[in-house]
């Protein structure tokens, strides 16, 4: 209930016994009971003010008659999308919520989101062309053509992971059954085996291993040369 402040209420409508603003307050139930009685008594003697009050009541009634729009079916769904997007974009909100409430609710969405993001990144990485890697590896591995055995019917410059994987037999057993590999040394087979175990993604990092194996082979050749001499 609003405070009485009769001194402030100077008569806006002469002769009514009540300022016009009090009609609004009367209509809105904001007058004290005592003041409301006084205003109603003044209205009985003033048809002009009664008409004014009726006009105000009509305004309110017509506003209330305006039909509320239906909530679109998808509005809730759109809100949920925005909330989810907001949580993803502003993780601090969810973290604050979690810390404040001690609820796990704020984290329930995170695992699937993280998994989805990780899967998307991994898929994108897989989809990347390998051409750039070929060039880099070719530059980093100048000695590979000297050592890795090439089948007699192929003249392939072994300078890329794909080529290495293609040239080197995928399985040790199969390698031993290949006629062209009969003369392969144990060291070459070891290199082939090591390469067999590498996935495409590991080749780049494992080229150091290849270099080490090649260095061992070179040392073995030197030792053999010494022993024969």
């Amino acid at each position: 209930m609003s405070e009485r402040d009769d001194e402030r209420r100077t008569a806006e409508t002469s002769g009514s016994g009540a300022p016009e603003q009090e009609l609004s307050e009367l209509l809105d139930g904001e007058l004290s009971p005592a003041r409301a009685r006084e205003v109603r008594q003044a209205l009985e003697a003033n048809p002009e003010m009664r008409e004014r009050l009726a006009a105000f009541e009509s305004v309110d009634a017509q506003l209330r008659d305006l039909v509320a729009p239906a909530v679109p079916d998808d509005l809730r769904a759109r809100l949920e999308v925005r909330i989810a997007g907001d949580l993803v974009a502003g993780g601090h909100h969810a973290e604050d919520e979690h810390a404040e409430t001690g609820s796990d609710a704020g984290w329930n969405w995170r695992l699937p989101v993280a998994a989805a993001v990780a899967a998307a990144l991994f898929a994108g990485w897989l989809a990347l062309p390998r051409g750039g890697e070929e060039v880099d590896i070719a530059e980093q591995e100048p000695v590979a053509p000297r050592v890795v055995p090439t089948p007699p019917d192929e003249e392939v410059a072994v300078s890329t992971p794909e080529v290495i994987a293609e040239v080197v037999p995928p399985r040790r057993e199969e390698t031993t059954e290949t006629p062209g590999d009969e003369e392969a040394s144990d060291l070459e087979l070891a290199i082939a085996f090591e390469l067999e175990t590498l996935s495409d993604f590991e080749v780049i990092e494992e080229l150091d291993l290849l270099e080490a194996l090649l260095a061992l082979e070179e040392r073995e050749r030197v030792d053999d040369g010494r022993s024969t001499s």
Binding site: E20, D28, L53, E57, D60, R64, L75
Partner: protein, 209 residues
Amino acid sequence: MREADPDVQHMLAFCAGDDSAFEPLFERWGRPLLHYLQRMTNDAATAEELVQEAFLRVHRARDRYKPDAKFSTWLYRIGTNLALNELRRPRRARPHASTDDDSDEARAPLQLVTDEPAADVQLEVRRRASRVEAVLGEIPERQRMAIWLSAVEGMSYAEVAVALETSEKSVKSLIHRARVALADRMAQAGDRGSEGDVGRTGKTREVER
């Protein structure tokens, strides 16, 4: 007292981690807030966006909400600020359901359905609604908001003051000036409501005592 507000209870439950408590808040207040914002912005699409934004802010506030007021008062305060920001954006075109629309859409059908009283009445209601919307759009935005929150949403002056972030004294003035402006405009349009409109929703409680 405010804790007795069932919406405040839902909000507090939501703050405590009950995500399901958010749903009844949207169910209860989504439509009236949409109505309010549509009348304030005169644009349905904008109103929908603002409703989403308002509830998004409610959702964000789950870690710092304090029941200082009724939930609806707080929600309308958010909505009011969003609407004011939207209305003050200079680039925004604000289509308005003007009397031109009314005349274009209503006059021709009115001539075609004069043999059907129900349809005729329906059209008259629609025409009147369009005029009310038009005159409502003509008054200053804060007057429009104040009269709507009081007359339609049934808020007390104190609650309107919270929603509009102003004093009760200002609210009294805003509401009264809005009523005067609307009454005068409606009278000029010859469209003042009939006596049957008066006191439809019990807002005249003081008068009826």
